[in-house]
């Protein structure tokens, strides 16, 4: 993975740039070497690079002031929320300024009759729900990282979660944003109402990985909490049959809020780690439904009926909050468990649900070819896979081998009609595979959008598009502020 060489002229001007930033944001600039190191990577820890400086504004106006300086100086800016990106989206370059919104975490307005909450984007995902749950509401998108990740990163990556089968991902729950454009102009896109006036710029901004502007506030749709929710755990002797079960449930017209899938290596690792009491089988589904007690019983009954026809190893229907927690325990600790036994790389390709059996089989074969173990845990209802490739980071060449294997899996996802990333984003991690999914004109159309929002390509310029493909545009002369 290559990053552009830092611009020596920017490095040489560091003192001046930092001084200008300090003028603009007294108290919000970090440039000491030991301190900027805290920002050298996100959750894709294989890649690290300390930035030139870090700016931590407290207001939208300060964000604008910082961007004006960077724009005038031609300094690349990498926006940052909580730094939990698994794609390297918040990875700095040595000549960049990290612009973090962590100090902006206020709830600005909660409005229950109109069902929205207006927040600053440094606020963590879980604390958005935290602000409204006492009144019976919640914010639906629930990435597993929700305790740590910020709304800023959720919007930039269009993050999803376990419950998006029913509630959709970030873009389906976002009403509007306050955003600062690359040249420091503050604007509002959308607001506390539904649907765009004119072109759907909000839909374009969500998922643009910090390349079109810095989002400082958001209007988020909130929903009344369901009366209750309970899962059923279903074990199967084959991944294929588990895949079939997912299809049959969906075809039967039942729409669970979540259908999660784990394979044997993942089940074994989480059992050793969390002791959730899962059956030792080839594949396991956790299917959750919502409603009143009677509604839940009825839906779980239908789901169990569908499962029973496929000869399951075990069907364990939760009858209480306690049993539900035990069923979810293993799934929720899956990533932690894998991290205990090994270094791992977490992939994120999506495939059509019907291709599940074929793709799982092929991943198994490739695992033998590459000599690296894979554990699968993912959102099966929508085909968003998370193969975890296990490797040893201390062993020479293993990271590269792992990356080559990962690339092959992602190519397979595209080949069967899916895509490179379902929720983590492209960042640097999948950047160089974009040409597998998109033809040159498809990428040109996307980069045209970047040109319009950020003609000088100062916002997160080395991400998303392969460097060779974006080279001509990245060098485009800066349009003066």
């Amino acid at each position: 993975m290559e990053m552009p060489k830092p611009d020596p002229q920017i490095l040489a001007r560091k003192a001046r740039i930092v001084a200008r930033l300090r003028d603009a944001l007294p108290g919000g600039v970090i440039d000491a070497e030991e301190e900027v190191r805290a920002y050298e990577c996100d959750a894709l820890t294989a890649y690290k690079c300390p930035p030139l400086a870090v700016v931590l504004p407290s207001t939208t106006e300060e964000v604008a002031a910082a961007l004006k300086v960077c724009h005038a100086e031609g300094v690349p800016v990498v926006p940052r929320g909580a730094g939990t990106s698994l794609a390297g989206g918040a990875l700095p370059t040595a000549d960049c300024v990290i612009l973090g919104v962590a100090r902006m975490a206020e709830v600005l307005e909660t409005n229950y009759p109109d069902r929205y909450v207006h927040v600053q984007t440094g606020r963590t995902n879980l604390s958005v729900t935290g602000a409204v749950e006492a009144d019976g509401f919640f914010y639906a998108p629930d990435p597993s990282s929700q305790l740590a990740c910020a709304i800023a990163g959720n919007i930039a990556m269009n993050s999803g979660g376990a419950h998006c089968l029913k509630y959709g991902v970030t873009t389906n729950n976002l009403l509007g944003v306050t955003m600062v454009l690359a040249n420091g102009t503050i604007t509002k896109v959308g607001g506390p109402w539904m649907d765009a006036n004119g072109l759907d710029l909000l839909g374009l901004i969500c998922g643009s990985e910090g390349q079109l502007g810095v989002v400082t506030e958001a209007w988020l749709r909130i929903l009344p909490k369901p009366e209750g929710a309970r899962p059923v755990l279903i074990g199967f002797d084959s991944s294929e049959v588990a895949g079939q079960c997912v299809t049959n449930i969906i075809k039967a017209g039942v729409l669970p809020v979540a259908i999660e899938f784990m394979d044997r290596p993942c089940i074994r690792a989480t059992e050793a780690f969390a002791g959730a009491g899962y059956p030792d089988c080839e594949a396991l589904l956790i299917v959750e439904v919502e409603g009143s007690e009677a509604e839940i019983d009825h839906q779980l009954g239908l789901i169990c009926g569908i499962a029973e026809e496929l000869n399951p190893v075990e069907v364990r229907q939760s009858g209480s909050a306690d049993e539900s927690a035990r069923i979810w325990l293993g799934r929720k600790s899956a990533f932690g468990a894998m991290g205990q036994i090994n270094d791992y790389m977490c992939l994120d390709g999506t495939i059509p649900v019907s291709e599940l059996p074929r793709v799982l089989r092929r991943i198994g074969e490739m695992s033998e070819e590459f000599g690296l173990e894979v554990a699968n845990v993912f959102h099966a209802g929508d085909g968003n896979m998370h193969p975890l490739i296990l490797f040893n980071a201390n062993e020479e060449g293993q990271l590269e081998l792992c990356e080559r294997f990962g690339a092959e899996i992602l190519k397979l996802c595209v080949e069967v009609g899916g895509c490179l990333t379902g929720e983590h984003g492209v960042g640097i991690e999948k950047r160089d595979l974009m040409e597998v999914q998109y033809r040159p004109d498809d990428l040109a159309a996307q980069m045209d959008v970047k040109d319009v929002f950020d003609a000088g390509w100062i916002l997160n310029p080395a991400k998303v598009f392969p460097l060779t493909v974006s080279a001509g545009r990245r060098r485009a002369p800066d349009q003066a502020a």
Binding site: W193, N197, I351, V449
Partner: protein, 373 residues
Amino acid sequence: MNGLSMMEPQSEAELSEALAGAEGPVSVRGGGTRGVVADGVALRFGGAGISLYEPGALTLVAQAGTPVAEIEAALAAEGQRLAFEVPDMRGLLGTEGESTIGGVVASNASGPRRVSVGAARDFCLGVRFVDGAGRVVQNGGRVMKNVTGYDLVKLMAGSHGTLGVLTEVSLKVLPKPEVAGVLSIDGLSVSEAVAAMSAALGTPWEVTAACHTDLAANDRPSTQLRIEGMAGSVDYRLGRLKEALGNYGEVETVVSENHDWPWFRDVARFEGGAEDVWRLHCRPSDAPGLVARLPEGGKVMLDWGGALVWAAVPAGTDLRAALGAFDGHATRVRGQGGGIARFHPERPELAALTAGLRAKFDPRGILNRGLMA
């Protein structure tokens, strides 16, 4: 049809050639039910047909020229549907023709269920289109979760044919629930109706639509809420909702297998009239204030729990001027308006971005020229 002939390329390649070679403005149409014609030669993409439908994966891919009716029939055969509830506006707009899926996506056309499940744009997983320079572009795909690169799918949905001509769309579809229950209360004022609808949408009983009309068939205002699902569950939730709304007036409930709400979905309230018809997108709690500022004789229907106000006002009314600034926007859907812009003017910095995007996707400015201005 301006007396000009209509171009009807049958394939994406032909369409690309036609647009690259176009010598003047092009008026893009699907089924033509919207009844608005831009300058220039008419162009309709002739490609039609469902190319892929996987009920078990909740996905359907179709050529843009496919009639919506054909898609709905294919889905119904598998007990599924387009959840965003495509409106049929022929009655309202006094037009003929068959809506196409391309036209629906291009205008982000969504009905009452939008308040609970989302708009057409939320169900659109992928697009293929040809831009104003003849460039063929694909974005998104056919899977439900996809964050690979920028989301041009959303940009195209609701772009009203001004950035490119869609050739293919892939959609997320949903199962059609067993039954629908409707709860209605007669005689509420607009502000009472909004309060009742907000209260209902704030319960966990999963209201899938909430509408109000100032004049129903029985000559009284009517506020209606819809709940869908399995029979037992709908009965239960209707019952709970009835209890919760008892203080707003006498509550009636009906359960049936009919999920369609053509009266609200198609804005039948204003069919056949000569007034201009506008859509206002706003906060529900702002709706009563906006309605109070309508010119004398204005009529209203509320959808989306009050987040969408349909207003019929005397032809030529400058409704934006009458309402003054508010959080949201106003679009005129019917009527010529005498020089008053159809779409709500954008904030200057957003207008600049829009103009920049148009310059990239339609450098000669030939597609539906001036339509969204």
